[in-house]
Each structure stands twice: as C-alpha cells, then as structure tokens.
Symmetry: D2
C-alpha cells in the first residue's frame, strides 16, 4: 500500500481486484472503477503530504464530487493486480480536478481512464475555499492578505 | 416498494436483484444479503409506523450493528425478484434483535435466513436507551417513572 | 417496482436510498449513482418489452459498458425516495447510448444527470451485433438480407 | 499487499479503509466486513501456495458460501489501516470453514471477529470434492485409491 510519484505527476497505488468487485459477466462491475479512483485520490493526498481524512475532520472542508467520468478500455478480472494512477488535472481553491489511469500491473495494459471534479465545501455543503495551509499541496500560491 | 405484515410478525418487501449485486459466479455476492437485511429492517420500521432515519436525526439514537449472521440455502440471480421478510426476534430498550428470510418471489423458495443484533447508542456510540416514544414499536411497555 | 414511459422517451423507476449507499459525508457515495443507472437501464428494457437478463442468457449478447459519466447537482440522502429516469440517447446495432436523470421523488429536484455507452459483444467480449429480434426495442429498422 | 502466517495459523493482510466502505454513521458499513473476510481468504490461499482464482478456472471447483457470521466489537473508520487475520477453522474435502479477526493496525484493537463456511461445488453448484492436488493446502491427507 505504498504510493510513489511518477513522471512528475501521476501517483500510483496497487489494488488487488476483489471478488466482490466482479459481476456475473466475470469482470469488474463498472461502478467500482469510481471506488478505485477514490483509492487513487487518497493515495495522491498521502503522496503530497496530507491525509484527506484530516482535512475533513480538522479543517472541516469536504471535497464533494461534482462530476465523474470513466472510459473502459479492457476488462479487469478477479485475481488481477492493477495500478491506479492519479494526477491533479487542474486546481483552484474552490474546484479540484483529477484524472486517472487504471493499468494492469503485470501487463501494463491500459484498462480505463477517468476524471473527477470536486467542489470544496463546508460540512453543510456550502461552497468554501481550500484551507490556506493546504494550497501548496495543490500547487496554489499563498494567498495575499 | 410497499411492505405488509404477514403471519402477525414478518414484514415483507420485494427487492429486484441488481447486476451490481452479482459476482463472477453468476450469483449474488454473499455480503449483499446483509444489505438486503437492512432494506428489510427499514421496511419493518415503516410498517410499524416510524422512519428509522428520523430516529437517528431527531432522537439522536443509533441502532449500531453488533452481530450479523446469514445461512445461504440457494443462490439468487440477476433478473430475479426476491422478498425480504423481517421480524423482530427480541427487544429490550438497549438491544434489538431481528431475523430475516430471503425468499424467491415467484418460486417461494427459501434462499437464505439470517439475523442481526443492534445496540442502541447515542451519536458518539455510547450505550443508550430507546426513546420512550419508540418503545411501543418494539412491543415494550411504557416505562414507569 | 413498476416503471412507466414519460414524455415519450424517459422510463422512470423509483428507488429507495439504502443506508449502505451513504458514506461518512451523510450523503450517497458517488459510485452508487452508476448502480442506479443500471437499475434504470433494466427498467428501460422491461418497459420496452424485454428482459436484459434473457438477452444475455438466451441470445448470448452482452452490453458491455464502454463509457460512463455523471454530474452531481444535489446530494441524495438515506430515507429519501428518488426516481431514476432513463432514455435511449442513440443506438446502432453495435453501440447503445443511454442518458439518465436522478430526481427527488417528492421534491422533483434534479439530483444528477448521466450517460453511459455500451458495446454489444459476445460472451468472449468480442464486438457483435444486436440480435435481429431486439432491433425494434432500440427503434432500429429490420435488417435487409 | 503481502501476507504472512502468524501464530502458526492466522494469515494477515493489511487493508486500508475506503471512503466507499463507510456509511452515514461515519463508520464502516457492516456488510463490508464480509468483503474484508473475502480479502482475507484470498490472502490465506496465496500464503498456502495457491490462487483461489485458478482453482475456479482450472479445476472448475467453486467454494460457495454457505454460512457467514460477524460480531462487531468496535467501529472502523475511514483513514484507518486495519489487519484482516484469517485462519482455517475446519476442513473436509467438501466443507471448508474459516475464522477471521479484524484488528486496528496501529492500535492492535480487536474490531470484529467472524467465520464463514464454504461448500465445494462444480460450476453448476452441485456438491463436489476438493481437487486432490489441493488437499494439502487444507492439511488433508492424500486420498487412498
């Protein structure tokens, strides 16, 4: 469960496909790729130096999903190890966009690509800004006061 | 999505098996029966006259799962309609026990039986009592003061 | 669990939000909307006159997801009843596209919109065509021979 | 994602709690422990020297769940790393029983215990026997002919 930054942008994390994630086609059910994207985002945060869970509990800032998309290139199977690659696509202090690649660990085959957009909110889901101390994780310059 | 009480004890609710709930064996993945039990409990509450969601939000009482068990008799398939039957097995104002039957809607075949036990807590997961106004739903006599 | 066609195009099916579908934000986890889209597609097939499960088992034709997207407008909560509205967006005998709306049942509020694209394949995931007898369900003219 | 045998019986595998696995109580939804048990079983098989996926595809033998139970001792949270510990409880060439412990990785706290029973079947779910070459993984003596 270690992640590393590659190509100066993508953070990678290995995931073992679970039986629970397959469906009766014998392949991974399509909604589960969005769960893997979440695993990728959490790994991305950790690689950048913070815990997403702490941003929620200490800073009371949520990153609520506003958009998600996925293109499925080749099926993933139970017993297969995959890599979820996550990169920041674009960030302001109000909206964060990530993109993802799901790749077969051994084959290197591209299984899926995707993207998500997140709105920063307070715990009542009202629009908010990233905490100032988190700006650097998203390559945002310090705010002038 | 209507439920009715039968045999003076079981509350029934129909559920359509989702593709997402199957696995690569072509049948419903075993953990999903516990999700169906939750659907059954919610239907049971509604049949008794209250909304579980309101008990949580207004009364600040949670029913935290302490035990769950399931015996799988015959597989359930996508495209099949099933009935989840839920009955109160035992209740005090601190611990509630339910039992369940999952039955094929057309076949009437028993697919699974199960049971769960729930501890009443406050939102910090400390042991608590059922709100007095909810005692009657669980056939508990009014509390003497 | 009945569905009806509205506005000459959308098929509607009610869904009760499950506790299992929520996450620690207190709202429905974003991947579960794709499960609801599946529930919508299955209802669409039934409204058109066929069972998707039978197309798989009898005709040995799968509709493998190639793309999925969702835009989240407002959160959905446990204890809420929603409507999933499904329409055919575009169809050839090789690629089928659906679009979806998720709406609060009581509020009528638009909670999310989405779309999926599906490739018709054989059980080995090789590209195939819709069975001729299914063309009419997708408003495709009979094939000339 | 490495597992090791401890106490001559339990196989351990670390699991990071996913956001998707939590519910609106802020803790892991109860059905997801059964998914973790599956992760534990797969790790157990690998530690013993075989891939469960290969037993299914090459030997055409399934281990269909017949019973599952879980006792929840303390809640698990997003952002927490847990350990799933899996041991063989009892095995014949027709029925396999496992038991599980879910433990906080840092705290060492016992979060849950559980057990599952599995029936060996062929792909049509008819009772069958473990393949002879798999008997040793379950500490069963060679069959006499």
């Amino acid at each position: 469960m270690r992640e590393k930054t590659t190509h100066a942008e993508f953070v990678e994390i290995p995931v073992s496909v679970r039986y629970a994630e397959t469906d009766r086609m014998g392949i991974v059910y399509y909604a589960n790729y969005l769960v893997w994207f979440e695993v990728g985002r959490v790994a991305w945060c950790r690689a950048k130096g913070f815990q997403y869970a702490e941003m929620e509990s200490r800073e009371e800032r949520l990153m609520v999903v506003a958009e998600a998309g996925c293109r499925y290139k080749a099926p993933a199977h139970f017993g297969e190890d995959i890599i979820v690659r996550t990169a920041l696509a674009k960030a302001t202090d109000r909206v964060i966009r990530y993109r993802y690649e799901v790749v077969g660990k051994d084959s290197g085959q591209l299984l899926a690509t995707g993207e998500t957009a997140h709105v920063v909110t307070d715990p009542e889901f009202r629009p908010a800004r990233l905490p100032d101390s988190y700006r650097r994780y998203f390559s945002l310059p310090p705010r002038r006061h």
